[in-house]
Amino acid sequence: MVETAVTRLRESIKANQTWGCEVRLDQVSKQYTQGKETVDALDKVSLDVKAGEFLAVMGASGSGKSTLLNLVAGLDKPSQGDIFLNDQAISGWKDNQLTLFRRREIGFVFQLFNLIPTLTAEENAALPLLMASQPRSVWQPKVSDWLERVGLNSHGKHYPAELSGGQMQRIAIVRALIHQPALILADEPTGNLDSKTGDQMLFILKEITEDLRVTVIMVTHDPMVAAYGHTLITLKDGRILDSAAR
């Protein structure tokens, strides 16, 4: 059942001859309860992200950027409206289906890197492959290639605590891409990096995702970072304030 849904989605992605995933939000709202108050994190947001598009989402803290990412990733469910991935509504999917979809089709890049501290850099980078129970003989060459591509081939055996912020984020980018996902969700990927390292990261991310024609949704509050996107939307109080293509 789970396999079937995900496989169908993947086949539909391939059928469109792009590796990227089309994302559509239709009147999506999300309310949270804080004490006795209800807070509208997202308010009837409609959005269309083409396959292979790099969407930057800007907004101040609390504007609903992270909520948007969580909903697209299936980590949270919308209060109203629906989310479509390649025209398939994910609201009816069971937890197992969403989990499997995340594992196979989504790559995450977080602001705080979120590497597993007890695994080495190469194991962290290979995590999606390890989750798929691929043997070392399969994932090791892939990881080596990717680490070389991001300039960390000599750091494979290091633990996260032994890496700098920039190095950790490069590992996180490799982790997000190594299993060739259709969609990259990046939450303030340069938020914890200095501007020079941040630029390098974004360059790597953009270059690779364009090569692979992966859809990227990146949220940030920094206009310089947002400038890397093909399209930019600005959120305020859970609503789309502005939308611009570049």
Binding site: S66, L75, T99, R102, L112, N114, T118, M131
Partner: protein, 665 residues
């Protein structure tokens, strides 16, 4: 694979906690092994005694050290009421292949097997006139021998060869001396050990087992005082000792289960903390596509690793702990059961079961933390927000906790009218819940007092976790309860174990505190089936060198439908060499009252159980009708769970019209 990698990686990161948790499991499993091993040893010892002395034998004629003439056999056989008499010789010998002394039993092949249990598993029993032996499997294992081997035994004629023709199952008489025993034909044994024409013992089977006392008396008269004619202990004669051992075994089981409970608690607590610590990591894994069941699997694997290592270590540790416990008990076992070398009895099957129980306990305890871990929402887990709200502690905890503790103690002290089960359950529940409620404020107050000291002496600032406990009272309970439980289990076990051991020791001491004890059998303090003649006391008193001789009898009566021990003493003499633990009134006053007669003492257990007090009257049924005996004293006595009544033997003679003794000292 990833689960195992992550589980091991977490343990590498939290070495100290992983080590302590594993050691806790090991210690708890060791306690289970030790206590169950001890129980097994006690059962074995009891079984050994029953097998040794049991069978169909009702009487045993026991010779002095030099033995008795084999003509005594004919005398025994001719005695009225005797169905058959089977002689044997017994001697401690040295076998070259074995260290220490081995018991040699010279038996009459074909006859002895009819009254004792011999299970030949290989070969046959030794044949008359041959230098042949049979040995138990246990002994064979020790010498790593096999059927057909030759063993070398030191005899009166020097070292001689004996052929091993039979291997016996480790049961029945083959369990004597913990299996360090060889069986050979009677005539061979007599020749080899200079016992020609001599016998050590004669086992007697009666035509009518109910006639044992009469036949015993007749045998004693016809054989003279040089020999002892003993009635043999079945399981019932040593009732009090057996009850006490059952009590100790029950305690062992209780503490074994408490050990397992601790395993559950320690694992549960440790994994709960582990889940909290790994919350962010688990959230990442969920976000990246791990299923809930994979998160559960990770926690279960962590528990399994602890369970497998802890239980394995526990088995090894338990073996040594059991040996240590056994050595503290072995004097008692020796005293109770007359066995020479009690050894640990814990089979491979027992080890396997205990190991499995340990691992399973860990898995059961891991279930809830694993389930909670699987429910972690990835988006929440990855957010770094952390509550800094300090809740402190609520005053209701102090009030409710204190009330519960006081109420529990009140039930314990004043709730004697309740059944033991109700009283115990209410008390334990109240104390545990009360302690759990009181723990956070107590722990916080205690640590607050310690904080300045920690800062002054060790330079530790804010390292005692007060703020953490203030934020989460449940964490205080989770931390404090295992410590409290562990301490209470340890002290409780030590206290009760010491108490039980002391009681047994006192009980044995009470038997042997006179310089000489004359009994009609091996262990007769609790017997009410046989007796020594009253005139014996007078004869003993008249023996040159005897200062005091007191007649004693222990018997049983029914009181309020329960069996009660009735202990009867010649108080005037008895008080000169006994120091009974009288609780109230004073010892001398109690002794004076008992010596005066017409009143009784009761044991503390009886007083508590039935709510009896000094001055009240105890109605006891006697052949002369129900007699009201005022209670003059309360004493400590653990001989009977239902209670013991102490009475002047003259009162007993008056109302029961019997002068039989079981002992004079």
């Amino acid at each position: 694979m990833l689960s195992i990698k992550l589980a091991l990686a977490y343990f590498r990161r939290r070495k100290l906690r992983a080590t302590f948790t594993t050691l806790s499991v090991a210690v708890a499993i060791a306690a289970v092994v030790a206590l169950q091993g001890l129980n097994g040893s006690m059962d074995y010892a009891r079984g050994e005694l029953a097998d040794l002395l049991g069978g169909q034998v009702q009487l045993e004629v026991k010779a002095p050290l030099g033995g008795i003439s084999d003509s005594a056999l004919a005398t025994v056989q001719k005695t009225a009421g005797v169905q058959s008499a089977v002689p044997f010789v017994q001697k401690d010998i040295q076998v070259k292949e074995l260290s220490g002394f081995t018991t040699m039993m010279g038996i009459v092949p074909g006859k002895n097997e009819k009254i004792h249990t011999y299970q030949v598993v290989q070969g046959r029993m030794p044949a008359t006139g041959q230098r042949e032996i049979a040995v138990p499997k246990n002994l064979l294992r020790r010498i790593q021998g096999q059927l057909g081997d030759t063993l070398h035994i030191q005899t009166m004629k020097g070292m001689q060869d004996f052929s091993l023709v039979g291997i016996l199952e480790d049961s029945g008489v083959a369990r004597a001396n913990s299996g360090a025993v060889v069986f050979m034909p009677l005539d061979t044994a007599q020749n080899a050990f200079g016992l020609n024409g001599k016998l050590s013992n004669i086992d007697v089977i009666l035509k009518d087992p109910g006639n044992v006392l009469t036949v015993q008396r007749e045998l004693q008269v016809s054989l003279g005082n040089a020999v002892e004619v003993l009635t043999l202990l079945g399981g019932s004669e040593n009732r009090n000792a057996n009850k006490m051992l059952d009590f100790i075994k029950g305690l062992d089981n209780v503490y074994g289960f408490m050990g397992l409970f601790l395993v559950l608690y320690v694992i549960f607590n440790s994994l709960r903390v582990a889940v909290v610590e790994q919350r962010s990591q688990l959230g990442i894994l969920r976000a990246l596509g791990w299923h809930r069941w994979e998160i559960r699997k990770l926690i279960i694997i962590q528990a399994s690793i602890i369970g497998v290592i802890g239980s394995t270590l526990g088995l090894l540790l338990g073996r040594y702990l059991a040996q240590a416990l056994l050595s503290t008990m072995s004097d008692t076992l020796r005293g109770m059961f007359k066995i020479s070398n009690p050894s640990l009895r814990f089979t491979a099957h027992d080890y396997a079961i205990t190991w499995l129980v340990g691992v399973l306990a860990c898995l059961i305890a891991a279930w809830l933390p694993a389930w909670k871990a699987a429910c972690i929402a990835p988006s929440e887990a990855m957010s770094r927000q952390y509550s800094n709200n300090e809740c402190g502690y609520s005053r209701w905890r102090v009030v409710v906790g204190t009330i519960l503790m006081i109420a529990s103690w009140a039930i314990l002290i004043y709730g004697n009218n309740l059944s033991l089960m109700v009283q115990g359950t209410l008390t334990m529940t109240g104390i545990v819940i009360g302690a759990a409620i009181l723990l956070p404020p107590l722990l916080i107050l205690f640590l607050k007092r310690l904080e300045p000291l920690a800062e002054t002496f060790f330079g530790l600032i804010g390292c005692l976790g007060v703020r953490s406990f203030q934020r989460s009272p449940r964490r205080a309970v989770a931390t404090g309860m295992p410590i409290l439980l562990g301490l209470s289990v340890s002290f409780g076990f030590l206290g009760i174990f010491a108490s039980a051991d002391l009681t047994l020791a006192n009980w044995l001491k009470a038997l042997i505190s006179p310089d000489i004890v004359i009994t009609q059998g091996l262990q007769t303090a609790a017997s009410n089936q046989v007796g020594l003649p009253e005139a014996l006391v007078e004869r003993v008193r008249n023996v040159n060198g005897v200062k005091v001789a007191a007649g004693i009898r222990t018997t049983g009566i029914q009181w309020q439908g329960n069996p009660i021990d009735l202990q009867l003493y010649d108080v005037a003499a008895w008080r000169q060499f006994i120091n009974p633990p009288v609780l109230e009134p004073g010892k001398e006053q109690a002794m004076d009252a008992l010596q005066q007669g017409g009143n009784v003492w009761i044991s503390e257990s009886m007083a508590l159980q039935y709510g009896l007090h000094i001055g009240e009257k105890l109605a006891i049924s006697t052949p002369a009708g129900a007699i009201q005996f005022p209670i003059s004293a309360i004493t400590k006595d653990f001989n009977s769970f239902n209670g013991s009544v102490y009475m002047n033997r003259q009162d007993y003679i008056r109302y029961w019209a019997t002068t039989r003794l079981i002992m004079s000292g």
